[in-house]
Amino acid sequence: MSEVRVETLSKFYGPTKALEDVTLTFPDGGFFGLLGPSGSGKTTLLRAIAGFVQPDRGRIFIGDQPVEHVAVEDRNIGMVFQNYALFPNMTVAENIGFGLEVRRIPAVDRSRRVSEVLELVQLGPLGTRKPSELSGGQRQRVAMARAIVTRPRVLLLDEPLSALDRALRVEMQIELKRIQREVGITTIFVTHDQEEALTLSDEIGILKEGRLVRHGPPRAVYDDPQDPFTARFLGEANILAGTPESGGLRLADGTLLPGVSGQSIALRPETLTASLDEPTTPHRIYARLVQRIFSGAMGTCILDWQGQSLKLTAPDRALGQLPETGGPMVWLSWPASAALPLRDPP
């Protein structure tokens, strides 16, 4: 097991900056999620750690060893690919044993370790099957088993669950977490699915245009996004622009939110309350209800405030007094602590 660290890592493709000055520590034994829109550099970062991408600048350490000039095959990593990349001409057991075979592990130890790891991923009896005879979830497990059987120093996962359907994905998330805990291996995974990142990670890092925007434990980042990009990217957010004043933040419609610092605020849709009567709190705005959407237990309201579209989600029953069709003006309010201050304008 090893801590992984990158320092001022940069990679350019012509004028495009795939990575720019990324410095980040991936804690020993932790599950770290790299998150960002496509083209944000998250995959480049993962592939640089693996050794498939040669950085233009910066350093990469696995444990204490600098690895920028170490070939992929000598880095002692485990990697799970988006489409699993199982060798189609080999059985499940041969796939898993491949890394042990190239390390010249004697056949007896090899088959013992293969069956151990097959048990760990709960594929005990399937060792003789070909990958083409497995379901998506089973292939995923084989890919995991193959990546961890060599006891690598770090496990790299490149959107490992994106090829699965939703129900299976949730099941595999739990599995992935269980296996990672049992093995205790430093794990870095890339995803564009923010919910997946929040569920799995001990820590997340958010990238945008090659730069690391934010990192930290998922809850801390969600509850205090600090910048508009993070607020929007992680979960949903209504971002209200304002002008800082001595007493608080003055919104575009003239409302003063007392005690609020920052250039703007983010409001999570689930923290908003809508009512026809004016609330007593100063933390409220007056907006037009555009649409109320019924979707079972939860309801969604789309509102228009100062030409900006806002979103509110609440249990449908809590929306009871609101009309089903849009048109009327309603009051939106929130607890003072729900206004997340952002350091930049939206």
């Binding site: 050794g51 498939f52 992929v72 095959e73 990697m79 990349a85 193959r146 990546a147």
Partner: protein, 258 residues
């Protein structure tokens, strides 16, 4: 419905156009008459005569072993060339790739003439080595096209997966890339064999009079006077060639899973 019938009829006509001469020849090789006289009387006489004709047997054997040598050499060279082309990007790659294909389109008569002049110029002259070199040159593009097409369906992530598991380039090639390329390599070898075995023009130009290959011998025999033995040997060649092509085409099902 009517369109269906018309389409089928059209297809039938094409098949007749393609295969009628061959069928006539095959039937005549089993007819007792020496002068193609009807009615048809079944006889295996021409086949029996064929297998006692030392000249034809020697030429047939020569054709087979030359084709085998050509298949092995062209497949080895062609596969290596293809993997290099597929694997690496280098300046002039596109030009090189483009230059590999015209030999398929250039008339064999021209190629044969050029080879004859060239081989005399460099001192190889005529003879079996010249025939083999010529055949290899003709077969190479077929091998390259077939193997290259197969490699198009290779998932590069497999190579990355193998490397991430600690495999060095040679092991990656042996355990991951070659197993994927195998059907293409087999198909390429079969095509190379067929190109050599069926080759007339280049063989005619490059073979010494004493050691002709089977197609050259058949041509000379026809000029001297036609015998139904030629029908028999031609029928055998067609059966072998078609079998090779069918097997080759099955392996060359590009892009599909094996």
């Amino acid at each position: 419905m009517i369109r269906h019938v018309v389409a089928r009829g059209y297809l039938g006509l094409i098949l007749i156009f393609l295969y009628a001469p061959i069928v006539v020849m095959a039937v005549m090789s089993l007819n007792a008459s020496e002068f193609y006289a009807l009615p048809f009387r079944f006889s295996t006489e021409w086949y029996e005569r064929l297998f006692t004709n030392a000249e034809i047997l020697a030429a047939a054997w020569r054709s087979v072993w030359i084709a085998l040598v050509v298949a092995v050499v062209a497949t080895a060279l062609g596969t290596m060339a293809t993997l290099a082309l597929w694997r690496h990007d280098f300046p002039g790659k596109r030009i090189l790739q483009a230059l590999l294909f015209p030999p398929i389109a250039v008339p064999w008569l021209i190629t044969g003439t050029a080879m004859l002049i060239f081989f005399f110029g460099v001192g190889i002259g005529r003879g079996t080595p010249a025939v083999i070199i010529g055949h290899v040159a003709l077969a190479l593009p077929y091998v390259i096209v077939t193997v290259f097409a197969r490699m198009q369906s290779f998932d590069r992530a497999l190579e990355e997966a193998a490397r991430s598991l600690g495999a060095r380039p040679l092991i990656v090639a042996r355990k991951v890339i070659l197993p994927h390329a195998a059907p293409g390599i087999i198909a390429g070898a079969l095509f190379a064999f067929a190109v050599s075995f069926d080759q007339f023009v280049v063989s005619y130009f490059l073979a010494e009079p004493g050691d002709s290959t089977l197609p050259v011998l058949i041509y000379s025999a026809i000029r001297k006077g036609f015998t139904p033995e030629i029908n028999a040997v031609s029928t055998i060649i067609i059966v072998i060639s078609m079998a090779i092509m069918i097997v080759g085409a099955r392996y060359a099902k590009f892009g599909g899973t094996r």
